[in-house]
């Protein structure tokens, strides 16, 4: 166990203690105890073998140098999409209702709900430290405007430790679309520890798209936990372009029959960016479906990790579960660790998985060059085509375009 990081977390908590409401304090304290007991994961933890958060934070982040002021010169509204919708603002991990545009019923709780459990140390850390919790609840037969969530981080004055906490409930027959984006200013390190819970009730649909294009001093762990009831659909789309550390934990529990889950991801990284996607789908009832496609292109010293778990429980007959992780490694110094993990207890199921790590397809490259297309352009064509296959499930056309532009900018320059 590393004493120093844990100690400074404890100290930080004590410093903040006075600002927490008495009602939530007990819950926060038990969360903190959980953190202190388990410690932040390191290399020896199987799940964090290639992403030793403890070590990365020790090297790059100092809990003692955290600033907590919530003032900024950032003009939030300048960054809003010019579209009708709910525009929700977080600053350094705290939800700011007064700065947000809210069209639909959502509420902000200033204390964390004691119903919020913590399965792992980052959940617990979030519960212990989050300033408030945003609750998005959409009622029956109601199709709300999209939710644009902007996470602003201002680390101009010092290091920032942000703990956004969001609970989303899509009641029966509703349909929620969410887009998450991060905007930052300042050069001091930022540690984001985000916790989002989603409950997709019967016949409801939730689609979450996130764009992760962080500066290199941003380190993020994101726990997204989804529970799906019968006949519900959940889509996750995640596009990672840069970041000191990006760890996305996506865990989906299909609790009813005829659930559908789609997971699409792309990481297009270079420099020293580190992107780790851990996903898990738990099929517990019959007749459900999950489909996962993560694509990666790595250059320079980038590192990527992919781990996809699929559980098919004994009752979950007639499950269809597909998983694919495809990587193109453009550099000798980039590295990829990819691992599918299937555990199937039911016998009447269709499951497939495949992980590939390859170089640029030289045959394809020569083919295009032999038609007169310059080498760089030909490379870009192949890589863009490879990347674009991950854009299919984005519900907003303008976001597709935005991501496509990021892809092209990265690959064509």
């Amino acid at each position: 166990m590393d004493i120093s990081v844990i100690n400074s977390i404890q100290e930080q908590f004590n410093k903040n203690e006075a600002t927490y409401l008495a009602a939530s304090l007990t819950h926060r304290k038990s969360a903190l105890d959980f953190v202190l007991l388990h410690d932040l994961p390191d290399r020896k933890d199987e799940e964090y073998k290639y992403t030793p958060v403890n070590r990365i934070l020790k090297k790059n982040f100092d809990f003692e140098k955290i600033v907590t002021s919530n003032s900024t010169h950032l003009n939030f509204k300048d960054h809003f999409y010019k579209l009708k919708g709910n525009h929700l603002v977080f600053l350094n991990g705290t939800y700011l209702p007064a700065q947000s545009i809210i069209l639909n019923d959502i509420c902000c709780q200033t204390e964390v709900d004691s119903k919020q459990t913590f399965k792992d140390v980052f959940d617990a850390l979030n519960v212990a430290f989050c300033k408030n919790s945003l609750k998005i609840e959409v009622n029956e037969h109601y199709r709300p405007q999209p939710f644009f969530i902007y996470y602003f981080y201002d680390s101009e004055q010092g290091q920032v430790f942000g703990n956004p906490n969001i609970q989303i409930t899509a009641h029966s027959n509703t349909r929620i679309q969410i887009l998450e984006k991060t905007i930052s200013t300042g050069t001091h390190p930022v540690f984001i520890n985000k916790k989002v819970g989603v409950h997709v009730k019967a016949n409801a649909q939730v689609n979450i798209t996130k764009i992760q294009n962080y500066k290199k001093h941003i380190f993020q762990v994101y726990n997204l936990e989804v529970n799906q009831d019968a006949q519900s659909t959940f889509n996750s789309n995640v596009y990672s372009f840069a970041g000191g550390l990006i760890r996305n934990n996506l865990s989906i529990n299909q609790l009813g029959e005829h659930c559908e889950s789609h997971m699409h991801g792309l990481y297009l990284i270079t420099g020293h960016s580190h992107v780790d996607n851990h996903t898990s789908v738990n099929h517990t009832q019959p007749n459900s479906y999950s489909n996962e496609l993560y694509k990666g292109i790595l250059d320079e010293n980038a590192r990527a990790v992919f781990n996809g778990k699929i559980f098919v429980r004994p009752e979950a007959q007639k499950t269809n579960a597909f998983q694919s992780n495809q990587n193109i490694n453009l550099s000798d110094s980039a590295s990829i660790h990819t691992k599918p993990q299937l555990e199937i207890w039911a016998d009447d199921v269709k499951c497939s998985h495949g992980c590939t790590v390859g170089q640029m397809d030289e045959e394809a490259l020569f083919y295009l060059r032999a038609r007169g297309i310059g080498k760089n352009q030909a490379k870009a064509l192949i890589l863009i085509a490879f990347s674009e296959q991950s854009l299919e499930y984005i519900p907003f056309e303008f976001v597709k375009e935005e991501i496509d532009t990021l892809i092209r900018k990265r690959l064509i320059g």
């Binding site: 020569f366 083919y367 060059r369 192949i382």
Partner: protein, 254 residues
């Protein structure tokens, strides 16, 4: 148009081309025949500029330019076209999509204005008709799930679009049924002019019933060992390659 002199090429240290001499003039059609493994595709690849070959001797001059100094894309822009023996699959890239890029890069190289979408479509329509290829096929991922015939027709379609000076067709006839063969041959014949030339690499005489060559060469063990006219192809069809092998294989062992 192209003059190949004493061309020697190695791959992974092994000599495959062992002194090729070939002269092709505008307006001519040359057929290169030969048993499997004799180096036909290697010759085509070396001319098109594929990486991985070491040229140890000889020269290739294409329209006053030293071809071997040019990158693959520059050769294409100069007017060389290779119809691949095994066309590559490229997921997510459609023929229409990359061909437009290709055409405009070629035009830019030649100092011509790029084609606008309308002009490009119009040209496409005309060429599609020529090789009886479907628009739907051209919008799909390149060669992914195409039948053998569709792949080859797509190669000829691209040739028709790019209008090369020198087309090298590497076994475009293999694996085609008679109808497809006829379509491919029709495409090649209609594109023929006094200003361009083609090299047809083929294993069988069959294609030469449809496209009449001015010269037939036999490539064996990295060298052109015989040159003649159409009657040489007929002779090969009748007698097979064994007599060539016997004649020239024995030379090697002396």
């Amino acid at each position: 148009m192209i003059s190949i002199k004493n061309l020697h090429a190695n791959i992974e240290g092994k000599e495959i081309l062992k002194g090729i001499n070939l002269e092709v003039k505008s307006g001519e059609v040359h057929a290169i025949m030969g048993p499997n493994g004799s180096g036909k595709s290697t010759l085509a690849s070396v001319l098109a500029g594929r990486d991985g070959y070491e040229i140890t001797e000889g020269s290739v001059v294409f329209e006053d330019k030293n071809l071997l100094d040019l990158e693959a894309e520059e050769r294409a822009r100069e007017g060389i076209f290779l119809a691949f023996q095994y066309p590559v699959e490229i997921p997510g890239v459609s023929t229409t999509n990359f061909l437009k890029t290709a055409m405009n890069q070629i035009r830019q190289y030649r100092g011509e204005k790029s084609l606008d979408a309308v002009a490009f479509l119009k040209l496409m329509k005309a060429k599609m008709k020529l090789v009886e290829i479907d628009q739907a096929l051209l919008s799909r991922s390149l060669n992914e799930g195409f039948s053998g015939g569709e792949k080859k027709r797509n190669e000829i379609f691209q040739m028709a679009m790019l209008e090369p000076k020198l087309a090298i067709l590497d076994e475009t006839d293999s694996g085609l049924d008679i109808d497809a063969l006829r379509i491919v041959a029709h495409g090649v014949n209609s594109l023929k002019s006094k200003d361009n030339a083609s090299i047809l690499i083929t294993h069988y005489q069959r294609l030469l019933d449809y496209i009449v060559p001015d010269f037939v060469h036999v490539l064996f063990d990295g060298k052109i060992v015989k040159t003649g006219d159409k009657s040489l192809a007929m002779e090969l069809e009748k007698k097979g390659y064994d007599w060539i092998k016997a004649e020239h294989g024995s030379l090697e062992t002396i």
